[in-house]
């Protein structure tokens, strides 16, 4: 079972949670996709690596994670048998809502880079919560700071 973390931002929140799941959070700041708005704009899946449990881990950003989950369920349903199914983990960590707003502003021409830096800074400010969410997913624990499924 491979995993896809879906958050409202891919190169900020979902990336941090995914690296937390992989126990590679120290790589966040040096990651080539951290704050990369070109990657964010494509909406493509970002491959993060293979976890110790053998799961291939991906992340992606989408304004509507619940719709991404539904699309994936529909794809699996239409496909019938899926040999390597992808389990989607929609995540929303309380207190990190401003990252999404900053990431949208980061797409503006001319001033975008300024907001990209702010979004990265905000992500690092909330890094502990985001990373622990990923760890909690791995442990199958829903703690106080754990990511919760979106409605």
């Amino acid at each position: 079972m491979n995993l896809l973390f879906v958050a409202r931002t891919g190169v900020f929140e979902a990336l941090s949670v995914g690296l937390g799941y992989l126990d590679q959070e120290e790589q966040l700041e040096s990651s080539s996709v951290f704050g990369d708005m070109q990657t964010e704009k494509t909406g493509e899946l970002i491959y993060l690596g293979k976890a110790q449990d053998g799961n291939e881990v991906y992340c992606v950003g989408n304004k509507y994670p619940d719709i991404v989950v539904r699309i994936n369920e529909e794809i699996k349903s239409l496909a019938g048998q899926v040999d390597s199914p992808l389990k989607l983990m929609p995540v929303s960590v309380p207190g990190t809502e401003s990252i999404y707003t900053l990431s949208r502003l980061a797409m503006l021409p001319l001033v975008g880079n300024y907001f990209t830096r702010l979004a990265k800074s905000s992500t690092l400010h909330h890094k502990d919560e985001l990373v622990s969410s990923g760890r909690n997913f791995r442990a199958g624990v829903t703690g106080k700071a754990a990511a919760k499924p979106l409605k």
Binding site: N2, L4, K41, T42, G43, E44, L45, E56, Y58, V60, N62, K63, Y64, D66, I67, V68, V69, R70, I71, N72, E74, I75, K76, L78, A79, V82, D83, S84, P85, L86
Partner: protein, 156 residues
């Protein structure tokens, strides 16, 4: 015979994707633009609700036996996401996603929003009519490119 699922997608899954899917399924003419009433009366055309986002809805089958579907993603740029989802599950050979967003003109954009957003179809549908008639020849071309050999024979 190996068949695939061909999924036409756009933001709402209401207009351009529905028309393209019906062209592909042979339910709309490809040689000339059909009467607008025929388009408006298509299943799913300008009828979707917010609960339909993310649902893959079947429209029909093409001449090769491929199932034709429509999808509204509530996102203007979903090609990478959809390809990624099937790639990561080794399903690439079973699906083909066709983006109709590049053919959504200003009339369709405004009309579609008025009709499906604030639920003002009386205002939106006249604009949708103009927009879909303008887009129709381009959607036929798109379907030709997305289709397979025998489909192309039908279209030509």
């Amino acid at each position: 015979m190996i068949t695939i699922k061909v999924i036409y997608f756009d933001y709402g899954g209401s207009h351009s994707s529905v028309v393209a899917a019906h062209i592909h399924a042979g339910k709309l003419e490809s040689s000339e633009t059909p009467p607008i009433e025929k388009i408006i009366n298509l299943p799913y055309f300008d009828k979707t609700t917010k609960n339909d986002f993310g649902k893959i809805r079947r429209v029909g089958t093409d001449t090769d036996g491929n199932d034709i579907h429509v999808l509204g993603t509530k996102n203007g740029n979903s090609g990478g996401l959809l390809s990624g989802l099937v790639d990561a599950q080794n399903l690439t050979d079973k699906f083909r996603f066709v983006d109709t967003m590049p053919y959504v003109n200003t009339w369709l954009r405004i009309g579609g929003w008025l009709s499906r957003g604030p639920s003002l179809p009386a205002l939106g549908r006249p604009l949708i009519r103009i927009g879909i008639l303008q887009a129709y020849p381009k959607l036929v071309t798109l379907v030709r490119e997305a289709g397979k050999t025998s489909l192309m024979e039908v279209l030509q």
